[in-house]
């Protein structure tokens, strides 16, 4: 285990309650630098809540450390400045603004205009479709384009760690393939990724590690390949008898 890369995000005993309901309960896992960790689980297992707890959008108990600094209770906008970006569920693009403006908002915290331009060029390499639609209102993009825009926008913040919530949600199978290819490319460029997915099949293929959530608690965790091979996961999440 000593050849493992260092931990970039450590989640320890994190719980979130909505009123009397416990959404997640003592969830713990580590994301290592340069790796992809995927959170899989059924609807309502607490995957999105876990992400929201990490990025400071809901009040949580427990401890979250990012780059060895405690970040529990830190506001989301400050986390973006530290390099932790959250690409929310349902894409969260600003439909009232143009594609260009959406991308600029991704680089909101940055002041290095030259570098931003370089990053933009890289985003356009990844998503040539986005470049064609710069002046268009983002609300008029198709679902897949919106997802690409959301990912591209998140990249413009130069994340160290990217939290992605259901990037394949509602996309055509072919697009799903593309999105996962791009996720891998982003990861190979050095960005650590915490990926929440319902599409366990694809997620386990790209991820290094995986955590299975069930009704708010960690059910299993381990290397993605091991989990993909385990009977339990195959039965419950991969649909193999």
């Amino acid at each position: 285990m000593s050849d493992q890369p260092p931990v970039i995000l450590s989640v320890r005993d994190v719980s979130v309650r909505y009123g009397a309901i416990r959404a997640i309960n003592n969830v713990s896992f580590d994301v290592r630098q340069g790796q992809i960790l995927t959170l899989i689980g059924a609807n309502g297992a607490g995957k999105t809540t876990t992400l929201r707890a990490i990025s400071g959008m809901v009040r949580a108990s427990g401890q979250v450390r990012f780059k060895d600094q405690p970040i529990t209770g830190v506001r989301p906008d400050l986390l973006v400045r530290r390099g932790l970006c959250h690409c929310p569920e349902g894409r969260g693009i600003f439909a009232n603004m143009t594609v260009q403006e959406n991308l600029d908002l991704g680089a909101f915290t940055r002041t290095d205009a030259d570098e931003v331009e370089k990053d933009k060029a890289r985003v356009f390499e990844l998503f040539p479709r986005i470049k064609e639609r710069l002046k268009q209102n983002a609300g008029t993009l198709s679902g897949g384009e919106q997802q690409m825009l959301a990912i591209g926008r998140a990249l413009l913040a130069r994340p160290v760690l990217l939290l992605m919530d259901e990037p394949s949600l509602g996309l055509a199978p072919q697009l799903v393939q593309t999105i996962f290819r791009i996720i891998r490319e982003i990861n190979q460029a050095g960005v650590s990724i915490l990926l929440v997915e319902q599409n366990a099949h694809m997620a386990l293929r790209v991820a290094h590690h995986a955590v299975v959530l069930e009704t708010g608690s960690v059910r299993m965790s381990g290397p993605a390949a091991d989990l993909a091979a385990s009977d339990e996961v195959r039965k419950a999440y991969l649909g193999h008898g």
Binding site: S55, M57, R75, P76, D77, V80, R81, C85, H86, C87, P88, G92, I93, F94, A95, N96, M97, E101, D104, L105, G106, F108, T109, N137, G139, R153, A157
Partner: protein
């Protein structure tokens, strides 16, 4: 026709003021999605702060020989400062804790804040100014103790209606001088004699601008000529003028005889329109072409996602509040320069004024900068043209006077109900919600 152009000028001036206040409603609605009921009270606060600081500035500082518009600029800055601070505090203390509460609760809180501001404004003045120089500006306000040269004066901010000193130039722009010379006799009691014959056109208004030297400084006074008919008036004849309250000897003062225009265009109207339009352009630029503006628009669409872009949500909301209240303060200062009599802070007059600006924002499409401007002019036009012409029609038909004027509120609220029923998002409001 004269009525039409008079009304038109009044509409443009009042419309730009409505638009400035409506922008405040729209900005706050844009980022917080609720109607800041207290905004009209911020406007009142701005008007009264203008008055109070005008009195304070002229009492505390030696303003002899300083052009009044410098005083005006200082007063404007004070009003903006006070209003912006109040706006910031209101947002911080009353609205921010309710960020996630149901909208109805925020609305009720806003009503509470509105009542609070109104009634704090109703409290009697605060005795603070220590000075015994009878101030120039305070003489316009005979009831202020400061005018009586007391050592302890009261900063007026209370339940009595006041009269705002004229700080911005109010001169008529399109008048024309027809004669000039020296006054041979006259004391401001109602008659003057001029040193040369003058020609008078029938059915027109004339004014006499008299300049005399007091303590080495020129002082100018304007009288209207009264009781004159058309034709030639010989030199040395007594000509009737408006009498002055405190007559002064005008012998040997120079005069200019001015033909008043049928429709007077005053400098203050031009100032109001120009500065309002300038402010609107600045605002439009800020909202659509700056980082702050894109943060505001992002916030308006989705607060949570905006935070995930690294936008400090609370700070942007605070800045928006400060901007909206500063606009209201500027509008209020300009308002006091056009309509110099100030009603007491809790007066229904103010609330109605603020409500009409709000109606302007809603009719134009709340959350939409251009909509607020459009709505402002639309409401002012409806109100002024509607009331002027229904008054004309009703009195012509033998109805009692005053009915047409009273109808103005009905027109405005009628339009509001109509627009909301036909096009709930307002005229420029769109379904895709292009909102600030």
């Amino acid at each position: 026709m004269a009525t039409f152009f008079d009304t038109l000028i009044a509409t443009i001036a009042l419309g730009s003021l409505y638009a400035l206040v409506a922008l405040g409603y729209t900005l706050v609605y844009g980022v917080l999605k609720f109607i800041n009921f207290a905004h009209s009270d911020i406007f009142v606060l701005g008007a009264w702060t203008s008055f109070t600081s005008a009195v304070a500035v002229t009492t505390l500082l030696d303003t002899q020989g300083v052009p009044p518009w410098w005083v005006g600029a200082l007063v404007l800055m004070l009003a903006v400062l006070v209003c912006a601070t109040t706006g910031y505090l209101i947002e911080r203390l009353a609205y921010r804790p309710l960020r996630k509460a149901p909208r109805l609760n925020v609305l009720i809180t806003a009503i509470g804040v509105s009542l609070l501001l109104q009634n704090v404004g109703q409290l009697p003045g605060y005795p603070v100014v220590r000075d015994n120089v009878p101030p120039a500006a305070a003489t316009a306000d005979a009831s202020a103790p400061a005018a009586q040269g007391q050592t302890l004066a009261t900063l007026p901010f209370g339940p009595t209606p006041r009269s705002m000193p004229q700080l911005l130039p109010n001169a008529v722009l399109n008048d024309s001088a027809v004669a000039s010379g020296t006054i041979t006799a006259g004391s401001g009691r109602g008659q003057v004699r001029l040193d040369q014959p003058i020609e008078i056109l029938p059915d027109r208004q004339y004014a006499l601008v008299v300049t005399r030297t007091v303590d080495g400084e020129p002082r100018t006074t304007t009288f209207r000529l009264v009781g004159i008919e058309g034709g030639r008036i010989e030199a040395g004849t007594d000509i009737g003028t408006q009498p002055r309250r405190d007559p002064i000897d005008f012998e040997n003062a120079t005069y200019r005889l001015v033909l008043s225009p049928v429709v007077a265009l005053r400098l203050i109207d031009v100032l109001i329109v120009v500065s309002s339009i300038a402010l609107m352009i600045v605002l439009q630029y800020v909202v659509f072409h700056t980082r702050l503006g894109s943060a505001m628009r992002a916030l308006s669409f989705n607060t949570e996602t905006a935070a995930l872009m690294g936008i400090n949500v609370n700070r942007v909301i605070s800045i928006t509040f400060v901007m909206g209240t500063a606009l209201a303060a500027a509008a209020a200062f300009l308002y006091t320069q056009k309509y110099t009599s100030l009603s007491q802070p809790a007066s229904a007059v103010w609330v109605l004024l603020g409500l009409k600006a709000f109606v302007a924002a809603v009719v134009g499409g709340i959350g939409n900068v251009r909509g607020a401007v459009l709505g402002g002019f639309l409401i002012a036009g409806l109100e002024l043209f509607g009331s002027t012409y229904s008054e004309v029609l009703i009195t012509a038909a033998g109805g009692s006077s005053g009915i047409g004027t009273a109808l103005r509120d009905i027109y405005v609220f009628g339009l509001l109900i109509l627009v909301l029923l036909v096009r709930p998002a307002g005229i420029l409001g769109t379904v895709t919600r292009e909102k600030v």
